[in-house]
Amino acid sequence: MGSPTLGIAVPETRRATARRKKLRRNIGIFLLLAGPNYLVLMVFTYRPMFLSFYYSLLNWNLGSQMAQFVGLGNYAEWFNDPETPRVLLTTLLYALCTVAGGMAGGLALALALNRKLAGRGIVRTVTFAPYVLSGIAVGFLWIYIFNPNIGLLAIVLGWFDVASPEWFTQQPWPLLMIIVVTLWKHVGYVALIYLAGLQSVPQDLRDAAALDGAGTLRTFSRITLPLLGPITFFLLITLTLSALQSFDLIRAMTNGGPLGSTKTLMFQVYVEGFQIGRAGYGSAVATVLFVLLLVITVIQMKFVERRVHYQ
């Protein structure tokens, strides 16, 4: 390089200084605008996530001054607990039924609403309305309807000479009941998302298929359904995440009972952490739930997304 002459060196340093100054100013502005959001995310999302791993290694009760390091003891206890297989099964069954049922029902509803039928606006509004309501309120409303003695459902079943099942006490009805209410609450939302997708499927593509002699079913399976791929993928992930974290309806309708038969992993976190107060053990269950969520999301992304974007 050699030593540059004074005449060239000065402007270059000046430009570098200006650049550095601008960068420093930009970083300042970035911190000013994005800083608050990141600060809250760090303190109330990232910090607790890492802390949750740490708590899970402790034998520690909520509010207690004494904590004992037990390594993976809490996890060992959870894996050996005879209750665990049932909690896992309940969680997976609930997720599977609400996600699959919600998507099938929502797609069917969307396909019906996509035809130019009179009054479809009303149907769309009515079916979507439950989605905006409080889970606790919806739960209360449905325990009244499911009541085996005075509930609306018992009356309707009575018309067909069917005795109402003991929804709240006899297996497998309690979990089934919560699944039904979850579907009632979510199906309109799924239909709405699918409807938005259906309306973006170009009509001339379907017309062309029809002209080529493809039947309704064939057009649907070869054209409409593949084009809905990305939306199906979005719904699969968001519905699974929300099913695994579902709390309000279970709290309102069965409170995890009877005999723990509607206790999901999420509900177990609540029971262990706050009702029993075992913060360490509860955090271990929370970590298991988190890992399960991550694994399911990653699997869905790896195996489903690849099939979604084919042309």
Partner: protein, 305 residues
């Protein structure tokens, strides 16, 4: 019929099909099968609408019935009188006006902050040039994968340590940031033409002015949609406020509902359903007015994301 066919043909760029194929196509579109399908769909949709709507109607009706009307068979559809006894009983049992005020205030403050923080963050991520932008965005994106429910035990420990249990701050502050809203805002901002803000930059407008005088007004539909989705989820939030609010004076409406159930017992249907009506009906009414925007908010996430 021929008219419809020519229109259809006109819409298709290059009709390559032969005449018989078109003939078959026409029969299928207009044939009795299609009419039958529509008729069947009507019946299904009618039944479906009934199943969706009737529980809510039944709830409102029951909120006017006395407990003996509710529990004597055969059931009557309509209450014998439309008095407000159950609602009065709710107000006597829990501080209902206070809970409504709590719900409104907490929802308003949380939503305002969530939207403001999200707007600032999304603007910085799109329009401010810094070397660590990619990492910053990844950090934001990953929070979408951290379920809020996982964080409750450590957050509760922190809030209790700050002596924030049973305070509004304890209910509101942990939920002030929104990764999802920020994400949607960012998507929207990236679609804006850069010439727009570059012109303002040449005019010497500061970033804050560019955000609030150019970017925000243009993005109004997205902001409205995200705001509505946030309002709905804040209004219905249950688990966190139920852990923090210890006294009825701090409870929101959904927390008040379970509190009322603890006080009145599960069998006091008239009173419980009156309270449930108070929680749900205002939301339903608001929903009817803002439906279109709310739907836009929910679908942008799916269709663009």
């Amino acid at each position: 019929m021929t008219n419809a066919l020519t229109q259809r043909r006109g819409a298709t760029p290059a009709p390559t099909a032969t005449d018989p194929a078109i003939g078959r196509h026409r029969r299928r579109r207009r044939g009795p099968g299609s009419v039958l399908l529509d008729a069947g769909l009507y019946v299904m949709l009618l039944l479906g609408t009934l199943v969706m709507a009737f529980p809510l109607i039944w709830m409102v009706l029951a909120s006017f019935k006395t407990n003996s009307e509710i529990s004597t068979l055969p059931l009557q559809l309509l209450p014998s009188s439309w008095d407000l006894d159950n609602f009065v009983a709710v107000a006597n049992s829990i501080p209902l006006p206070r809970m409504i005020a709590n719900s409104v205030a907490i929802t308003a403050v949380s939503t305002l902050f969530k939207v403001l923080l999200g707007l600032g963050c999304a603007y910085a991520l799109v329009f401010v040039e810094v070397p660590f932008k990619k990492i910053a965005f990844t950090v934001l994106l990953f929070t979408l994968l951290i379920p809020g429910q996982i964080t409750i035990i450590p957050n509760y420990v922190l809030v209790a340590g700050l002596d924030w249990t049973n305070t509004y701050a304890g209910i509101i502050v942990p939920g002030l940031a929104s990764a999802f809203g920020t994400f949607l805002f960012r998507q929207q901002f990236m679609q804006l033409p850069h010439s727009l803000t570059e012109a303002a930059e040449l005019d010497g407008a500061s970033h804050l002015r560019r955000l609030f005088q150019i970017v925000v007004p243009i993005s109004a539909p997205t902001i409205a949609a995200v705001t509505l989705v946030t309002i709905v989820s804040e209004w219905n939030e249950y688990l966190w406020p139920s852990l923090i609010a210890r006294t009825p004076e701090l409870m929101t409406l959904p927390v008040g509902l379970t509190h009322l159930q603890d006080l009145e017992g599960v069998q006091n249907w008239g009173v419980l359903l009156a309270a449930t009506t108070v929680v749900t009906v205002p939301m339903l009414v608001i929903f009817l007015f803002v439906q279109r925007r709310l739907v836009a908010g929910l679908t942008t996430g799916a269709v663009t994301g």
